[in-house]
């Protein structure tokens, strides 16, 4: 199983998902807080379900991929020969690409039997099974179920491990993960529990960067492919897309030795009018040398979004070069007589910084700037807010009132709204007022990154595609020095540096998806995958704190890039409702409070019982997959059957039919034509009612399907081949 090929695994997941859909109706999440004792009914249910599952598997699933047996042998569990992992609890199929994770060395504990896994929300009988510790994962194999069910937890995902007071059942071990998975184990022996506890503490908080998963992760990919993977995202191409270099902006390598700013990338975009002396001078006046650089240029009117850190203005200091720098930025947009300078901090915080020799721009010292505060709270407030939110999510059977009050008190949605409001302000300034905006917070790597990237996303449909979103993250977050390592707590370090800044960005994108369901090429799972891997340390992209550090860590030589792996899974990560690149331009989201929803799919993601029992997304995705298969099928059949059109034949009209078919044979024999010339041919022989459908389809094809089709044709064949072999649709 560990060496599973991507194709095999994908297809297997696909089938498992379908099975899951079939079964989801059978699920009974009995959580109606009642006074009845339904133990008998419930027990019957738990006993019953696995059997049904097993029966269904026999009938629905093909033979299990042979690789799976490897794992069974490894785990030393002879009874589990027909093992089947519960994909829902192992969401990172990427991990399967990895090499075999070795169990821990013999002197340490590597497996514990008779471990219970408690269900957080229901009082159903706890699962009982074996817990394995490998070098990279904690794996729990439920032995009580007739069907093998596995729960995988990546060590890097573990946020906290707690040993709770001993109970009669054993020693409880509570694990909180950074992806909001909460696992409550009960281990029989106190000694075992302690050993697992200490092992996990060590494993989840590596001290040296070399211990991170990315440095040992080996997907058996050739060196060339690995390098190509890193070159997939080229920021220069994105600047070219914006028309840079142009008369006003240039890409400079002033920072090639990290002398201007150690946390910026070697190449930065600055106004052509800013001389080297201006740039260097400005860097001395900005916290950590983070000078104003271009983040996004709105080609339509030359208004730009620029970003930097706070100025070292204190109470009265000023810097001529910095003033020149801002002037250069303003003048790079001749269409506007002024520019905005936006400080994303609350005013009070910014003022307090003046005492430390930092602060904000004095409007009197800079020509034609409009200065504005947008109060987004700092990383500590955000960390506490998330903590409170998670407490609410974890509450056992809360009342509606508890939940809503808790949600309000956490302040989480208030902060999400603040980030969104700021981004909307930026986008409006650029688009409607045609004014350039310079954004900063304190160091310009948290709030500034959030706001600049979201504003770009609002302004430019490219960033709402797979590739564009990757570029956006590479550009605004990775290259510009968002301290992923510290914010995500990759290594054992200062817990006060940890903060869900990137999580908030991801959530803002999700909130936008709720308001604009057809404007994103990708779906919610794509966001969740990225969020997982920001913490997983499986890929090199998010390691370290800035470009320089990543070079020092040699991540480009030693690790893999996440993006090619995500692109491989495009089929399951795409948004079926996407209407294409040109369908929508700028987005103007509603930011009234009711437009923000609690994201159950993120914060209660592993509590399946809370999610809709039937998933529209999955349904549509399988429709899309089925569609390509049907289209192929149709052309195939047409090849075999030159007289498909016309009424259903009866023997009497057979001869005449052959005659009329002949005229159309040439078209039908070239199924590829069908792509360019939508179903005019196919529509023959269907009823008038169906004809409407056809014209719809036709129109749709013309509008936006051209590129989508290519995508399907190229990528989905694997999935399709593995889908029901008899060609029978799974649905309808």
């Amino acid at each position: 199983m560990w060496a599973l090929q991507s194709k095999g695994k994908n297809s297997w997941i696909e089938e498992r998902k379908q099975l899951g859909r079939a079964l989801s109706h059978k699920q009974c999440h009995v959580q109606y807080n009642h006074h009845l004792e339904f133990s008998r009914g419930c027990q019957r249910l738990t006993n019953h379900r696995p059997r049904q599952l097993a029966r269904l598997q026999r009938s629905v699933l093909p033979a299990y991929p042979s690789e799976r047996v490897e794992y069974t042998q490894l785990a030393g569990n002879p009874t589990a020969n027909a093992a089947i992992a519960d994909v829902s609890t192992t969401p990172f199929s990427c991990f399967y690409h990895g090499k075999l994770p070795a169990l821990l060395p013999a002197q340490k504990i590597s497996s514990v039997e008779n471990v219970k896994l408690l269900d957080r929300y229901t009082n159903r009988r706890a699962a009982s099974g074996t817990l394995y510790l490998t070098a990279t994962h904690l794996i729990y194999v439920d032995a009580s179920a007739e069907v093998r069910k596995e729960t995988w937890i990546l060590h890097h995902h573990i946020a906290t491990v707690e040993k709770l007071p001993l109970t009669t059942a054993g020693c409880p071990l509570l694990i909180h993960c950074k992806n909001f998975h909460v696992a409550h184990f009960v281990i029989g022996q106190e000694r075992d529990c302690h050993e697992v506890y200490t092992s996990l503490l060590k494993l989840s908080q590596p001290v040296k960067p070399e211990e991170l998963y990315a440095f040992s992760y080996n997907p058996k990919m050739s060196k060339d492919n690995r390098e190509i993977g890193w070159k997939l995202i080229d920021l220069k191409v994105d600047y070219q897309r914006m028309g840079i270099p142009n008369d006003y902006w240039e890409i400079t390598d002033l920072n090639k030795d990290y002398e201007v700013c150690s946390t910026y990338p070697p190449e930065i975009v600055v106004p052509r009018a800013a001389s080297k002396a201006t740039v260097i001078g400005s860097s001395r006046f900005r916290s950590r040398g983070r000078i104003p650089v271009l983040s996004y240029l709105y080609k339509e009117n030359n208004a730009a979004i620029c970003r930097c850190s706070q100025p070292l203005s204190g109470f009265s200091a000023r810097c001529l070069e910095d003033e020149q720098m801002l002037q250069a930025i303003r003048e790079a947009n001749p269409g506007s007589p002024f520019m905005y300078v936006v400080d994303t901090r609350p005013k009070l915080n910014a003022m307090a910084n003046r005492a430390a020799g930092k602060g904000y721009e004095n409007e009197d010292n800079y020509d034609n700037i409009r200065f504005k505060f947008i109060g987004i709270e700092n990383i500590h407030v955000m960390r506490n807010s998330l903590q409170k939110l998670l407490e609410v999510c974890e509450t056992k059977s809360p009342s509606m009132s508890d939940f809503l009050t808790g949600l309000e008190n956490s302040g989480w949605l208030r902060h999400i709204k603040a980030v969104m409001d700021a981004s909307v302000f930026l986008a409006k300034a650029v688009k409607d007022e045609k004014a350039s905006v310079l954004v900063h917070c304190s160091d310009g790597w948290d709030r500034t990154a959030q706001v600049c990237s979201l504003a770009s996303l609002l302004l430019d449909p490219f960033y709402r595609t797979f590739k564009g979103f990757m570029v956006l993250i590479e550009k605004e977050w990775i290259a510009m020095g968002h301290k992923f390592s510290h914010r995500c707590g990759h290594l054992d370090g200062d817990p006060k540096e940890v903060s869900p800044v990137f999580t908030q960005f991801i959530e803002c994108v999700w909130q936008l998806m709720q308001q604009f369901p057809c404007t994103f090429e990708f779906n919610e799972h794509f966001l969740l995958e990225i969020h997982d891997h920001v913490y997983s340390c499986q890929f090199g992209n998010f390691l370290g704190t800035c470009h320089k550090e990543r070079e020092d860590l040699k991540i480009f030589e030693k690790t893999h890039s996440l993006w090619p792996f995500l692109l491989q899974k495009k089929q399951e990560l795409r948004n079926p409702l996407y209407r294409g690149f040109t369908a929508y331009k700028e987005l103007q989201p509603n930011t009234l409070p009711f437009s923000f929803q609690f994201w159950c799919g993120m914060y209660n993601r592993f509590d399946k019982g809370m999610h809709p029992k039937q998933c529209v997304l999955d349904h549509l995705l399988s429709c899309m997959n089925q569609k390509i298969k049907l289209e192929d099928n149709a052309s195939e059949l047409e090849n075999k059957l030159p007289f498909l059109d016309g009424p259903l034949p009866s023997e009497a009209c057979y001869l005449s039919k052959v005659g009329c078919a002949a005229s159309k044979t040439s078209m039908l024999n070239t199924p590829q034509d069908y792509q360019g010339e939508p179903p005019a041919v196919l529509s023959n022989g269907i009823s008038v009612g169906d004809a409407n459908v056809t014209s719809d389809v036709e129109q749709k094809n013309k509008e936006n399907l051209a590129n989508r089709r290519d995508l399907h044709r190229n990528d989905s064949v694997d999935v399709l081949n593995s889908e029901a072999k008899d060609g029978k649709p799974q649905h309808h």
Binding site: G41, F403, C518, F598, L641, L648
Partner: protein, 494 residues
């Protein structure tokens, strides 16, 4: 749509509609403005039902199937009697003398004669003796509904009532009585002559109390919720605390929980259930109808849902005219106004949201029903019970909503493209994280819906195109088979 109005000084009329929409009209000329305002005022507060729109509405469509006769109890009973012979139709109430809020025909256990029913009716609030609400074909368990028993403070009993209730039990089986009031409220009801079934007299029954709120509390909740949704301030905390303070979502959770409980008793416990509150015309109907949606796949089709509404709401005597008089913007306090039906629709929407592929109808259907319950050109929701409806001669004088809805071209708008018949019981989650504000009703007029509509359209296209391909494939393989057989024939003849 009728409305209430506030008059500004500069000739502005603000119309607040029952569907929660607010329209502002700027009218030049003070006098015209006043005239229009008073006309609207007069026309929106008609005294007599017979002056209402349904009595003047002339349909522009041809009636294919008359909605008034689409869901007759006799037809429904035919279906039931094909599975079991333990039940019978009783015409005891044919002149509405036994129970004014019941329909002329009800379904009761075969073993209970009309004489007994007559005695039971006296013992139950408003004469609403226990009648059959739902028969669970899977295991033969039933759901009955009634009003509270009139035990009073001295614990009066009625042997006939016990006999009737017990007649629904299988030998040796126990049943559950779901009282939609809290135990406290039920006990207090005794002082007013009401009460609940006492264990001593109903030893085979176990009573469970749920707490579903009543009229004015629900109405206040709706008013608060709508007020919160119309608040244009950008303060997140204020929104969340107003949403919480409205308690609307709490009531949704409570009603759904009670319905799930009833469904659980029937399907999982294999026990029969009797549901009642005080009058048995509000919370009782919410619970019995939602339980049926959970249990019975038929109720999740358009026809089935209509039939459910007719059976469990219209014929069962939910006083629509009293409950759905003014909606959320009423100035005057209407004593009997309450969004009981809207809460029910909201709960259905919550289940629909969790099982998006299991319903033949879509959200638009539910929103339409909400609109028509409050204001309609059709007579369906007029009157408070069948008795009043027959006196108003609605069947003769007005058009049925179902006549319009069930036309093929209208039905198209109400169909859920994702629907795939699901014959299973569907268990919704009642966790707060799983329940959402029904944006389609409460935020409908407060934000543009263009992008969501487009998503809906896109979804429909994807599915329609798939169906088209599928049909095509079937057709093609049919021909292949035909050719195959032809080939065989030709070889044979050769």
């Amino acid at each position: 749509m009728s409305c209430s109005r506030f008059l500004g000084s500069v000739g502005t009329i603000i119309i607040k509609c029952k569907d929660l929409r607010i329209i502002q009209l700027d009218i030049p000329g003070m006098e015209e403005c006043l005239n229009i305002a008073s006309s609207i005022e007069a026309l929106s507060t008609l005294d007599s039902v017979t002056l209402m729109y349904p009595f003047f509405y002339r349909p522009m469509f041809e009636i294919v199937e008359d909605g008034w006769s689409a869901f007759l109890p006799e037809k429904e009973f035919e279906v039931l009697s094909s599975v079991t012979d333990e039940w019978r139709l009783s015409y005891i109430n044919k002149d509405f003398s036994i129970c004014p809020s019941y329909p002329p025909v009800v379904i009761v256990p075969r073993s209970i004669d009309d004489e007994t029913l007559q005695k039971v009716a006296v013992y139950r609030h408003g004469g609403r003796f226990p009648v059959l609400s739902y028969y669970h074909k899977k295991n033969g368990m039933v759901m009955m509904r009634s009003s509270q028993p009139l035990t009073g403070t001295n614990g009066r009993r009625c042997k006939e009532d016990e006999k009737l209730v017990n007649a629904t039990l299988r030998p040796g089986k126990r049943g559950y009585i779901i009282d939609t009031r809290s135990l406290n409220a039920a006990q207090q009801a005794r002082a007013k002559g009401g009460g609940f079934e006492q264990e001593v007299y109903y030893p085979q029954w176990r009573r469970i109390h749920r707490c579903i709120e009543r009229f004015n509390i629900l109405q206040e909740s709706l008013i608060k919720l709508v007020e919160a949704c119309n608040d244009q301030s950008h303060n997140m905390d204020r929104w969340l605390s107003k949403l919480e303070a409205s308690n609307w979502m709490t009531y949704i959770k409570e009603i759904l929980t009670a319905a799930c409980l009833a469904a659980q008793c029937i399907d999982r416990e294999g026990a029969s259930v009797l549901v009642h509150g005080t009058e048995g015309t509000d919370s009782t109907l919410q619970v019995t109808s939602l339980a049926q949606i959970i249990l019975d796949p038929d109720c999740r089709t358009i026809q089935g849902f209509e039939s459910l509404l007719v059976r469990e709401w219209l014929q069962a005597g939910h006083p629509f005219q009293q409950r759905c008089a003014q909606s959320a913007y009423s100035n005057s306090k209407q004593k009997f106004e309450a969004p009981v039906f809207l809460l029910f629709l909201d709960c259905v929407w919550q289940i629909l949201h969790q099982f998006p592929c299991s319903f033949e109808f879509n959200e638009h259907f539910l929103v339409t029903l909400f609109e028509h319950a409050y204001a309609s050109q059709f007579g369906t929701f007029l009157g408070n019970n069948e008795n009043e409806r027959s006196k108003l001669k609605l069947q003769q004088k007005t058009m049925s909503l179902w006549s319009w809805v069930n036309q093929p071209e209208e039905l198209k708008n109400f169909q859920n493209p994702l629907f795939e018949a699901n014959s299973l019981v569907i268990w919704p989650s009642v966790a707060p994280q799983s329940l959402q504000l029904w944006e389609g009703v409460f935020l409908r007029w407060n934000r543009p819906s263009r992008f969501l509509d487009e998503a809906e359209e896109e979804m429909r296209r994807i599915i329609d195109y798939n169906r088209f391909l599928l049909d095509k494939k079937l057709q093609a393989s049919g021909e292949m088979a035909w050719i195959g057989s032809l080939g065989v024939k030709m070889t044979l003849s050769l």
